[in-house]
């Protein structure tokens, strides 16, 4: 017969701590990598689009810096811009979270803005999301 005492819940928790910590660190790392990669991907895409639109005019470093600063300020202002009940930042967070149906309920709060979000919901997506007719 084994003399070993069964491990208490506390002991088990202690044992699983390093594992949980490792997993948590991995998730933090993954979140950062995903954001960085997507940011680079989008930046490259925008650069390509701009070059296509404007030809190969590249702004000087100084101009570019001033323009980036202006854009940062503008996106900060947009973040707090109230549209109906919510700020645009909150609306975007909800849209990223897939709460499109919830957003439809807010349509009465500010119709002109919400129309766009409704258009990506079932039956309303331009050019593709509508109900399919039965053959």
């Amino acid at each position: 017969m084994s003399a070993e005492k069964p491990k208490s819940t506390e002991e088990k928790k202690e044992e699983s701590k390093p594992e949980a910590k490792k997993e948590e660190a991995e998730k933090r790392n993954a979140a950062a990598v995903i954001i960085d990669d997507a940011t680079h991907w989008l930046a490259n895409w925008r650069r390509r689009r701009k070059l296509e639109q404007e030809g190969k005019k590249v702004p000087s470093g100084e101009k570019k810096e001033a323009s980036e600063q202006q854009k940062k300020e503008a996106s900060g202002a947009l973040l707090g811009c109230k549209l109906g009940l919510l700020g645009l930042g909150g609306i975007i967070a909800l849209a990223l979270g897939g709460a499109i149906i919830g957003l439809q309920k807010l349509a009465t709060a500010d119709k002109w803005f919400m129309k766009g979000f409704n258009s990506v919901s079932p039956g309303g997506m331009k050019g593709g999301g509508g109900k399919k007719e039965k053959a």
């Binding site: 933090r28 895409w45 202002a77 897939g98």
Partner: protein, 126 residues
């Protein structure tokens, strides 16, 4: 024309099936990138960064679509401490397709994040 056509680049597989646009747009980005069991602060900061990316995309689009003479006004209105009424009035008057821009940029960021997460997963599996 379908303004979500850019999403054609992101035919991705989930649970063995190709994800539909609708399913994609309704899914939570946190689940799509595999962070559903991450700590709350990680999820929150991920969502904040993603929202910031969308806002930057919206500003970039507005910048590229406005005529030169209106760009200056845009940056004059949209700055620190800007008034809601001024911003709303500017958008209503000068950016008639704002809803489309916001919807499209949200979808684009969502798709880019999913793409990045899949690349990360593929690299980890190697």
């Amino acid at each position: 024309m379908n303004y979500f056509s850019f999403l054609n680049f992101f035919f991705f597989r989930r649970r063995g099936t190709i994800m539909e646009f609708e399913e994609f747009l309704k899914a939570n980005i946190i689940d799509l990138v595999g962070l559903s069991d991450a700590p709350e602060d990680v999820k929150r900061s991920f969502l904040e960064r993603a929202s910031q990316m969308v806002l930057e995309g919206i500003v970039d689009r507005i910048d590229s679509e406005l005529p030169e003479e209106k760009k200056e006004e845009f940056y004059r209105v949209f700055r620190q401490g800007a008034k809601n009424e001024d911003m709303q009035a500017f958008i209503k008057a000068n950016v008639p397709n704002f809803e489309e821009i916001a919807g499209e940029e949200t979808g684009r960021v969502k798709a880019a994040l999913v793409k990045a997460s899949q690349e990360l997963k593929a690299a980890q599996e190697l």
